[in-house]
Symmetry: C2
Subunit: 337 residues, 2 copies
């Protein structure tokens, strides 16, 4: 596990501290707003929302929204509401994902569906999405609403595409990239694009920030997919090998399957396509991924998108905010948790 | 089953024909837009959407949006987009409801979850909701967006409240009304309120149409809840007794339980709270509901809200549109399918 291990050796949260210090005050307001938005007449809603809110997610996406507004000197109040909306969209997706994937763990704790059931997870996810839209409407920017509502639709489309590709070893790299572009990168892109929108920074700035967010999101997901086979449960917040057990086709498997012998392909067909998994199979899978350099290759792709994210910032205003966004890329690519 | 049977004796679709003739051209455009909005890169999405679209729902809610805009002389294009958005919000709710209720039938056909699974139903519901928001943002009315996004959030809250109240015989009429106000009436109200909003008909008109929609929605749900114990499967589009089997607390049960003897309460506790249902229990339940006039009382409440809906239209412009909206009330209260 040389590659992932080397990723894990880097010092903790290398690049997120500048970002955190820049958005510290605003994030306190985002966190308060998130608690307010989780209030409801049905007791179960704040309970489940609190479970997710307290579970120690990094809140990377809302921090990106705040920093993207700050980069262009935004001085209003809308960025806090949009940041909270972005986090609610993300949280709603997690709740539904865990139902779809039958996940038992999320961020190192039992998932909401294990504690409150699938029914509540579906409905509370719907509630959080509704609250996200309500809050973003208050900001009054039709352009921001267009970007975020499009993202909501694209994320769901990506999840359906992923479901359709599950257990299908014919999935190639292009299809895999379309899935993660939709299910993950679209929200990163939207979170970053609404900053220049409400700061009225112009189309050039919007496009640059959308490109930054998309590339960062792709890098983020590629690292996640590598960590599922090479990280620790602590780093992932869920069990290592979940993707493998769910028959999820991620880039490491795409690469190893394509490069594999007949015998190896038989192994992948049995485990991923037919979902008959025995003791030792995860270890065998990891061994095959290393044999073909699939984790190293996945990490290289993540670095490639990370470089594209940094390049997207080239023409944007210099200063702490831009520096923070550059460092976030390094954080995501070398992420340990 | 005197009451419900007498409801069913009225002639088919008594009041919907004027409404249909008034919005006929616009509904053709709504239906085309619905098909366009169901398009996606993931094949499963249009397949499932088509299954729901072809299943012969009445599309009452989008017709209400069109008629509410027409009542105030709206001459733009936004009402078609808002009507399609309203129908998508409703369809998304149906998909998630069927997962939560583990329903096997919907509108007389196998439910989407029986054909494509719970996972796809959750995700495609999310997609339809995202598409609904995208389309309504295009209309560019922040007031309409506020009303519809608030409705999305309230509907989900109502569904969670219903889940929390399930199997709980301590539920009283007030709590039941709060649930159906949120899960059903909120979307009827929003569908009706966005008409005067985009027609710029003023706050008085908005409030009147919201009151009309709320009362109509309450009447609609009360009839639905009575039909579950006294209608035919054909009229309901699902199996009679589904609410009973799911332990859903509806007004007929609330009323019969309160009026029941110790022995009868024991029956409701065993069947609804403990969910141990044997052959003949549904028939026994229906008999108890009749013994205490619970279905007649539920139908009377529906008529009461129907009258309130008609009264809300008092001060609004006279003519075909108003007449059509009055007749819709009669249609809902005396609904056979």
């Amino acid at each position: 596990m040389a590659i992932v291990a080397s990723l894990e050796k880097t010092k903790p949260e290398p690049g997120i501290s500048l970002l955190m210090s820049l958005v510290d005050d605003d994030m306190a307001r985002v966190n308060q707003l998130i608690l307010d938005m989780a209030g409801a007449n049905a007791e179960m809603i704040p309970e489940i929302a609190r479970h997710l809110i307290d579970s120690g997610g990094k809140r990377l996406r809302p921090m990106l929204t705040l920093a993207s507004a700050g980069l262009f000197g935004y001085a209003g109040e809308g960025h806090v509401k949009l940041a909270a909306s972005v986090e609610f969209m993300h949280t709603a997706t997690l709740l539904h994902d865990d139902v779809v994937d039958e996940s038992e763990m999320r961020r190192g704790k039992l998932s909401a569906r294990m504690l409150w059931g699938n029914q509540a997870s579906v409905l509370v996810g719907d509630y959080l999405l509704g609250q996200a839209f309500r809050k973003m409407v208050e900001v009054g920017s039709l352009d921001a609403l267009s970007v975020l509502s499009t993202a909501a639709s694209v994320i769901a489309e990506g999840e359906v595409m992923q479901l359709a590709a599950a257990k299908d070893l014919a999935t190639d790299e292009a299809r895999y990239l379309r899935v993660i572009d939709a299910k993950t990168a679209a929200l990163f892109a939207a979170a970053c694009e609404v900053g220049p929108i409400i700061a009225e920074a112009g189309d050039e700035a919007r496009r640059a920030m959308a490109r930054y967010g998309t590339s960062l999101g792709l890098a983020f997901q590629l690292v996640d997919d590598a960590l599922d086979y090479g990280g620790s449960s602590q780093a992932l917040g869920k069990r290592v090998g979940d993707d493998f057990r769910e028959g999820k086709i991620t880039l490491p498997v795409v690469l190893a399957y394509r490069a594999g012998s007949e015998l190896e392909r038989g192994f992948w067909q049995r485990t991923i396509e037919k979902a008959t998994i025995a003791d030792g199979d995860l270890e065998r899978a990891v061994e095959l991924l290393h044999r073909h350099g699939a984790l190293a290759e996945t990490a290289a792709r993540a670095r490639h998108y990370g470089e594209a994210a940094v390049a997207a910032l080239d023409e944007l205003p210099d200063g702490d905010h831009r520096q923070a966004l550059i460092e976030v890329v390094e954080f995501c690519v070398s992420r340990v948790h």
